[in-house]
Amino acid sequence: MTASPALRRFNERLPYVLVPLLLLVMLPAMSFSTWLTLTVAGLAMGMMLFLMAAGLTLIFGLMQVFTFAHGAFITLGAYLAVSVVGALAGWSGAESWWLNLAVLGIALAVALLATGAAGYVFERVIIRRVYGSHLRQILITVGGLIIAEQLIVAIWGANPLPLPKPASFRGSLILGGAAIEKYRLVAAALGLVVYGALHLLLNRTRVGLLVRAGVENREMVEALGYRIRRLFIGVFVAGTALAGVGGVMWALYQELVTRSIGSEMTILIFIILVIGGLGSIGGCFTAALLVGLVTNYVGFLAPKLALGSTILLMMLVLLWRPRGLFPVGAE
């Protein structure tokens, strides 16, 4: 029997309640101040994960390209942050919100442009040769990841580099008896802005409409007269640029940049993509928040389970919805 449209809509939107539900369920399990601290930490972590994963979900969903080189663009963004913050050390060290925000803004803009440009070259030189062949995609992008990491070592050196946060982003605010790190609020705000912008782009513009349609049925988009390859390049560039932005934010959060900062995130990003449903920005956002929150809550309540908590979350979601929370396109 086919479900009624109302029931179908309800079922489709059900995963949206997961994040609020998790917040409510965790409230009685700890003191309010601890809950608030962990919640803000989890949301901020989730937003940063979203920044790093959002591009990849579109690349997977639309282009069906299995790229393992995404971590390299995160790493590139992180090292660019080191260079920009280092070059603007005077502004970064000044006790001025405006100067500190300017440093962050410049680092984000440089990372956005440079990783986007690197993504363009990567798509034109490497990815375009392996469309339609998943095995070759995996092999060639793993190779690309190794080469990119070595290039980064050649430019910035092999040693880990410190990356102090701009002065105003250090320390915490005391709110409701809880200590909230200022930087986490900045990261959460940026994640929200990017999510909002992506949401508007995908839902209110012709390009967004094409991307959503292309994720579902590329062949039909071409039969309507659109050149999907151009769309592929645009999505790949946007995806890598977002990875660079995520790399800047994650590096400033860690305050230490290593050459494996991006590849270390790859597994977590894949888990988010699988939980959210490949190709779904809303799914990616929800999954990233869930992963961020679960990691922080479980890390506090049962530290021994923290490492496997995200994998357990993924298993539970897949048992409920085998194609992820918000499945897109053909099975």
Binding site: R8, L209, A213, E216, A223, L224, R227, V328
Partner: protein
């Protein structure tokens, strides 16, 4: 002088991987007429349509649209010549709304209000489902949406693959009415169909395929009136498919 057909296939061969599917298809689609492409399952009808649209590359032969060769061109370029395609799967974007599905098929200026009204008059059910996601539509409504999307802009040729597949008789009759109205506007249509009631109701010309070749061409009326020919070409009689 013989009128030049809008679309002509001459000696078209198509291979899909190791398989040789089309073995020299010769087909002419005349302007302003509805040409039925009939044949048993596996005869090569869908492959012929996909080859016309550039979704499979012809390995030999010539495909000419309005005097210009299009064989081997990219699908978007073929579509931009004014050829609309409705695949057997309908190609509906289930996550998009009815409005968004139609909007994708319009030019940069968006909907032409008069044209949109005409299309929605053809399929009024879509008007009520305007803001609903296309995935929530019934099978018949999805087919109506697929055809509406193909005609929301003026096209020179409609290529439609088995629109009645899996639909209830009442919906099929609705589609027949819609095709008859489209015919009255002199739209050129190439239609693959297994439902012979529909074929007989709307077809002007007919081409019958078997084993990757065209084995018969003529008028639909002549085929409909010749039971022996139907048995010979299709292995059945149209009269038994009312």
């Amino acid at each position: 002088m013989t009128e030049t057909p809008l679309l002509r296939l001459a000696g078209v061969h198509t291979h899909i991987g190791r398989y040789h599917i089309l073995h020299g298809v010769d087909l002419a689609v005349r302007r302003g007429r509805l040409t039925m492409l009939l044949g048993r399952n596996g005869a090569g009808k869908t492959t012929t349509l996909r080859t016309i649209m550039g979704l499979w590359r012809p390995s030999a032969g010539e495909i000419v649209f309005d005097g210009a060769p299009i064989g081997g061109m990219e699908t978007p370029d073929i579509a931009r010549l004014g050829i609309a395609y409705v695949p057997e799967s309908m190609g509906i974007f289930a996550q998009l709304t009815v409005r968004e599905n139609l909007l994708l098929a319009t030019g940069p200026a968006g909907f032409d209000k008069a044209r949109l009204d005409e299309v929605l008059a053809l399929f009024p059910a879509l008007k009520q489902k305007w803001a609903d996601s296309a995935g929530a539509l019934s099978g018949g409504q999805k087919q109506m949406l697929a055809i509406s999307r193909a005609i929301i802009e003026n096209r020179r040729l409609l290529v439609v693959d088995e629109p009645t597949k899996g639909l209830a008789p009442a919906v099929i009759q609705h589609l027949i009415d819609a095709f008859l109205r489209l015919k009255s506007t002199e739209t050129t249509i190439l239609l693959v169909e297994q439902n012979f009631h529909m074929a007989r109701s709307v077809g002007d010309d007919v081409a019958v395929m078997d084993d990757g070749r065209i084995v018969h061409t003529g008028s639909m009326a002549a085929l409909a009136g010749d039971e022996a020919l139907q048995q010979h070409l299709l292995g059945l009689s149209l009269a038994s498919h009312q």
